[in-house]
């Protein structure tokens, strides 16, 4: 049943792999950023689209991955093969602690608590100058030489994002994914069928945070620096917009939203400085007339994954 999605991931990866052949460094940088945000947005959709819980603090895990990987790479001079998984594990542990409290609440309260924890992570990053560099940011993040050129880093990012997207697809199509949908549709109903709903919610929260941290680790290496604003609530809002714009009811919706927002944003900013106002209008039109987002235009509908 999910073979078309599997083929779509491999086909998209094959097309994306052609980008460096264009010889344009600009395009390579642009698509590196797109790939990173595809993963970031899809990780958030595990919570929003599948579990039905809106997080306003997802950037916290993105930043934790970014800072974690950067600190392990530069401060502790660990190899990338240790630093990146290390950052993911650390984020997973923190997401488990934060998630333990968050999944006890639902709806608006869940959203507000994730926002509060997100801002708490931002405050720690901002104030812990000796470790994170504070508001000066954490600079001179050096990726290994073998991914030192824009093209090689792009291909590395493509490989990591493709593997992560495959893993997310497997998760969403597994019994766990079906339980997430069941809980989204009716938590009480899932409960009297023996599903430990809170535990499943916590697992999804940790998984979403871990995949966001992978995107964050790539983001830090891509920019060779990372700043506290990557944990700021506006970063959470941006990825939330990608999910809504692309369509939260489809596996590929957030990826489409990430592509659309970044590409359209770049093009528009070259024409006018009123991009944020235009984005607001696009969002309003999307919410009123295309509730299933861009993916909805291609026939994806609620609940179909």
């Amino acid at each position: 049943m999910w073979r078309p999605s599997l083929i779509a991931i491999f086909a998209a990866a094959a097309v994306f792999a052609l980008i460096p052949l264009s010889g344009s460094t600009y395009l390579t940088y642009l698509f590196t950023q797109i790939l990173i945000f595809i993963l970031f947005a899809t990780s958030l959709n595990l919570l929003i689209g599948y579990l039905g819980l809106v997080s306003f603090g997802h950037a916290a895990y993105f930043a934790l991955g970014g800072y974690g990987c950067a600190i392990l790479l530069r401060t502790y001079e660990m190899p990338l093969i240790v630093a990146m998984p290390g950052a993911m594990v650390m984020t997973a542990v923190l997401a488990a602690v934060i998630g333990f409290f968050c999944v006890r609440l639902t709806s608006y309260y869940f959203a507000m608590l994730t926002l509060a924890f997100g801002q708490l992570v931002w405050a720690v990053v901002f104030k812990w100058r000796s470790v994170t560099g504070g508001d000066d940011g954490f600079l001179r993040i050096l990726a290994p030489e073998w991914i030192g050129t824009p093209a090689s880093f792009y291909l590395f990012t493509l490989a990591v994002v493709t593997i992560a997207m495959l893993a997310l697809l497997v998760i969403t199509q597994s019994p766990l994914g079906r339980m997430l949908v069941a809980i989204r549709e009716n938590e009480v109903r899932a409960g009297f069928l023996g599903v430990h709903t809170r535990r499943i919610q916590l697992i999804a929260f940790v998984l979403a945070g871990t995949f966001a941290s992978t995107a964050g680790a790539l983001f830090g290496m891509f920019n060779r620096s990372i700043f506290p604003n990557s944990a700021w609530w506006l970063q959470s809002a941006e990825v939330l917009v990608m999910v809504v714009l692309g369509g939260m009811n489809s596996f590929f919706g957030p990826a489409l939203g990430a592509i659309a927002l970044i590409v359209f944003g770049r093009i528009t900013l070259e024409i006018t400085v009123y991009w944020p106002a235009l984005l607001a209008i696009i969002l309003i039109v999307t919410l009123f007339f295309f509730p299933n987002g861009i993916a909805g235009l291609f026939g994806a509908r609620r609940g179909k994954r």
Binding site: E185, V188, R189, G191, F192, L193, G194, V195, H196, G303
Partner: protein, 236 residues
């Protein structure tokens, strides 16, 4: 089926919704492989009794003993895992999941011998519809799926809340037929029902519930001899 002692004892439970008391020290028992019906008009407390047993509404006092253990206060998922399956009255399937996904999504007891094949043997209609979205099934098919889904958790006792409600007569007949098959499998059941024919066809014993208490206990034979005995309580 595993040979676990199956014995439900509801002991003087009082359940409230806010300040409104719905059940007043209600008590009854269900023996192994027994089908006990709770009959009564709307609003007398049948569903509240079911919800109190399933852990969805906690009784303020009294005990619900399952295999000797008081299960009051346990979370619904823990009660389900102990072997009590709840089939709610409004056919609460997951409409956006297919028939197969609805069956697959539940927690499964490791010692349960309820497999998809066995469930499809009991409900052959569902086997033909396994790829169809739950929301696109008829009322009767949804009711079958609700029961089938609960069977996948490996229950020893089924709480069936108004299974005939809103179904066409032919669908009711098919549903009764399937529940009889489950009874023959040895499942214990508590059946909340208003349809006298369904109650007579399925139950070993019936308790008439009125204003949150059990007013009378009748056997199917007593009712068949004189149906007025039941209808007088139900004021039909």
């Amino acid at each position: 089926m595993a040979d676990l002692p199956i014995d439900l004892k509801v002991e003087t439970i009082s359940t409230f919704y806010g300040l409104s008391q719905i059940l007043f020290e209600l008590s009854f028992e269900v023996g192994r492989s027994e089908v006990v019906a709770l009959v009564g008009r709307n609003g007398v407390g049948k569903t509240t009794t079911m919800r109190s047993i399933a852990g969805l509404t906690r009784p303020r006092s009294g005990r619900v003993l399952w295999a000797g253990e008081d299960i009051v206060g346990l979370a619904p998922h823990r009660i389900a895992r102990l072997g009590i399956g709840y089939v709610p009255e409004d056919r609460r399937i997951f409409p956006e999941l297919t028939v197969w996904e609805n069956l697959d999504v539940v927690w499964r007891s490791p010692d349960s011998d309820w497999t998809e094949e066995r469930v499809f043997d009991i409900f052959p209609d569902l086997a033909e519809l396994r790829g169809r979205d739950g929301g696109h099934l008829s009322g009767g098919q949804q009711q079958m799926l609700t029961i089938a889904r609960t069977l996948m958790t490996g229950p020893k006792l089924l709480l069936l809340d108004e299974p005939s409600e809103g179904l066409a007569p032919l669908a009711v007949e098919r549903m009764v037929d399937r529940i009889k098959a489950l009874k023959e499998e040895g499942l214990s059941m508590v059946l909340a029902e208003q349809n006298t024919d369904v109650v007579l066809a399925l139950s070993d014993r019936m308790h008439v519930v009125e204003k949150g208490v059990i007013r009378a206990t009748l056997s199917p034979e007593e009712v068949r001899e004189d149906e007025n005995r039941l209808t007088s309580y139900l004021m039909l």
